[in-house]
Symmetry: C2
Subunit: 345 residues, 2 copies
C-alpha cells in the first residue's frame, strides 16, 4: 500500500466535486490500486487548512456547501492563509490546482502555486488552463528537471482524454489537422439561437445550466476555445516554438446572426465554435477558432448540447475522433483522479 | 540514442505494412525519440532471416511483394527455419507477433512465440487476437513476473486506441457498459444488403475491398467480434475470472433478412454487429454480440463503411465514445509502432 499526500488548491466547482469523488472512490482506490489518497492540505481564496494525518473530506465538503471557507476548518484551518503559503510549507507528494483560470491576472494564484510545487519536487495535476496557456514550456521544463509529473488532461474538453489520446496514442504520427469543440457553452447558445430563442434568453439559460462561466466574454468571444487550442497544440504537435494565444486567429460567436444559424439547422447542419490546428506546407500549423456550420457527416456534426469532441487527422493512424457526453461537471473534476492515477499506477 | 532490436513474426498484410511504416518513419523516430529501431529477425510460414546488425527492410518488402519468403533473404535467410526457432535463439529486445489469428490451431504459431519471448525477457507487441483471447491471463502474469511489457492495442478495432483509452483513461471508474463495433466487414456487408445487393455480391465486394478475412465464417458468425469483446473485457473490466469465448452470447449476421436491413435504412437507422459488455446487478458483466439497428442518435449510429467505434459508459467520466476512419490497413499495422513507442518513450 502506498500513501499519497495531496494538497488541493481551489475548492470550488471542480475542487469540491473532486473531494466528493475521493469519498466515493476511497475503497476502490485502496483495493484496486493499493493507493491511500490523503488530502493533507486545502486552500480557497479566504483561507487554508493543513493536517499531516489528512483532513476529513466530508467536513471540508460541508464547510464549502455552507458557503464558508477552508480557513474555518475546525482546529487545523487558518483564515487568511494563502494557497501559496500552503504550497511553500507543506510536506506532500502532489499538488492539485483547481483554482480559477484568471488569465487576466497572469494565471494567478495557480501559476505561482504550480511553479512552487514543481520546484519543491511535488507532482502537479491541474485542470486550470491559465498557467498551462501562459507558461507551459517553463513549467514542463521545470517538471522534467525535477523528475516530477505535470499533468493537465482536464484543461481541454472536460472529461474527454483529448490530451492523453493526442500525446500517447498518436506517437510517431504526423498530425495534419486537429479539430475540436472543446467547451459546451458556445454550442449550447448557438443551438438555442438556431431554435429561435433570443440572445438574452439563451445566455440566461446557459448560465442557469452552469455551462456559462462568470466572465461570459471569455467563452463567447472564443478566448476559452483559443486557450484550449494553444494547450492542445503545444502538448501534441511538433512546433518550432510554443504556441501562444496571440497566434490564434480568433472569431467568437458574439454578433452571429440567428438567421444563419436557423438556415443551417434547416439544412440539417449545426454550428459549433471549432478550434482548429491545420498543417501548413512549410511544416507549421495555422491555429484558428471560428463558428463553423458542420454537416451531419462531420465527426462533430452530431454533437448534442452536453457534448464536446475532437478529431485528429493523421498519416498512419487514420482519422480518429472522440466525443464525451458530459451532463454535469463530474467528469471534468474526475480528470484529476485520472491524472493522479496515471502518475502512480 | 537507444537501439531497439526487434524480431517480426509474420510478414503478411500487417507485418509488411509495419516494415513500410518503419522505412518512412526511421528518421522521425531517431530525431524525435532518439530511437534506432532495428529489425534483427523476421519469420514467415516458410522461413526466417536473422542478422544481428539489422535486416534491410526494403529488401524484405521486395521479397514479400514478389511472393517469396523471408527464408530467401540473401545471405542471412534460412528456408524452413520456423518463427519459434528464431524467437528461441535470437538476442533481441522486443518481439512483434503479426502472425495469423489461427484460433482453430490453438493460436499457433503466435502463442508459443509470445510465451517464449516473454520467458526470455523480451517485450511483446502483437495485433494477433488468437494468443490474447486464449491465454491472456497466463501471458499477462508471465510478462509481469519477467518485468516486461505485453501490448496488444491492435487486437481490437484496428488503429483505434480502444484498449489504451479503456485501460488508462478510465482508471478509477466503474464501467457500466462497453459497446463496440470492433471490425469493418459485418457493417460493410449489412450496408450493401440494406441497399438491395444480394448476399453473394455483397460478400464478393467485401472480399475485393480486403475487409473480409479468408475464413468468412469467422467474421460473419460473429466470432471475430466475440474474440475482440473477450479481449476488451479482460483488459478493461474488473472481472472475477477471465472472460472466455464461451461466455459470449453470440449471434452473427448470417441469415439476416435483407428486408429488415432495408426497413431500418428507411427509418434512418443502420445495422451494426454490436459487441456489448453490460454490468449486471451482481457486479458481473453480460457479454453479447448481435446485429442491432442503431438510431442516428447512438454514438455508433452514423458509422460509415470504413469506420469502427466504441462507447464507454462510466460513473465518473461520463459517456466517452471514439471512432476511427480506417480506409486501409495502415492504422492497424501502425498500432505496433504505437505500442512499441509506448514501451520505450
Amino acid at each position: 500500500m502506498r500513501t499519497v499526500r495531496c494538497v488541493l488548491i481551489g475548492v470550488g466547482n471542480l475542487g469540491r466535486r473532486f473531494c466528493e469523488i475521493l469519498v466515493i472512490k476511497r475503497e476502490r482506490l485502496l483495493e484496486r490500486y493499493g493507493l491511500d489518497l490523503r488530502l493533507v492540505g486545502a486552500a480557497d481564496s479566504r483561507g487554508a487548512a493543513y493536517r499531516q494525518e489528512g483532513l476529513n473530506l466530508q467536513e471540508l465538503i460541508r464547510l464549502k456547501q455552507a458557503g464558508r471557507t477552508v480557513g474555518d476548518y475546525p482546529e487545523w484551518g487558518r483564515l487568511g492563509w494563502r494557497a501559496i503559503d500552503l504550497v511553500r510549507t507543506v510536506s506532500a507528494d502532489l499538488v492539485l490546482d483547481a483554482s480559477p483560470v484568471n488569465l487576466g491576472q497572469g494565471g494567478e494564484p495557480g501559476l505561482s502555486c504550480i511553479r512552487s510545487a514543481l520546484e519543491r519536487g511535488m507532482h502537479v495535476v491541474t485542470p486550470n488552463k491559465g498557467p498551462i496557456v501562459l507558461a507551459w514550456r517553463e513549467l514542463q521544463d521545470l517538471a522534467n528537471e525535477q523528475g516530477v509529473a505535470l499533468r493537465y488532461d482536464g484543461t481541454v474538453a472536460g472529461g474527454l482524454p483529448v490530451l492523453n489520446i493526442g500525446q500517447r496514442d498518436l506517437r510517431g504520427a504526423l498530425v495534419s489537422q486537429i479539430e475540436a469543440v472543446p467547451n459546451l457553452v458556445t454550442g449550447y447558445v448557438m443551438d438555442m439561437l438556431a431554435e429561435g430563442m433570443p440572445w438574452e434568453k439563451a445566455l440566461a439559460l446557459a448560465r442557469e445550466e452552469g455551462v456559462l462561466e462568470a466572465d461570459a466574454a471569455w467563452d463567447l468571444e472564443g478566448w476559452d476555445a483559443a486557450a484550449k487550442l494553444v494547450i492542445l497544440a503545444n502538448a501534441i504537435l511538433d512546433l518550432e516554438k510554443p504556441a501562444q494565444l496571440k497566434d490564434v486567429s480568433r472569431a467568437g460567436i458574439v454578433g452571429l446572426e440567428p438567421d444563419a444559424l436557423q438556415a443551417a439547422l434547416t439544412r440539417g447542419e449545426r454550428y459549433r465554435l471549432l478550434a482548429r490546428a491545420t498543417l501548413l506546407v512549410d511544416g507549421g500549423y495555422a491555429l484558428s477558432v471560428a463558428p463553423v456550420s458542420l454537416s451531419q457527416d462531420h465527426p462533430l456534426g452530431q454533437l448534442g448540447r452536453k457534448q464536446m469532441g475532437v478529431v485528429f487527422s493523421t498519416d498512419i493512424y487514420g482519422v480518429i475522433s472522440a466525443v464525451i457526453d458530459e451532463p454535469n461537471p463530474i467528469p471534468s473534476a474526475a480528470t484529476m483522479l485520472r491524472d493522479l492515477l496515471d502518475i502512480y499506477v
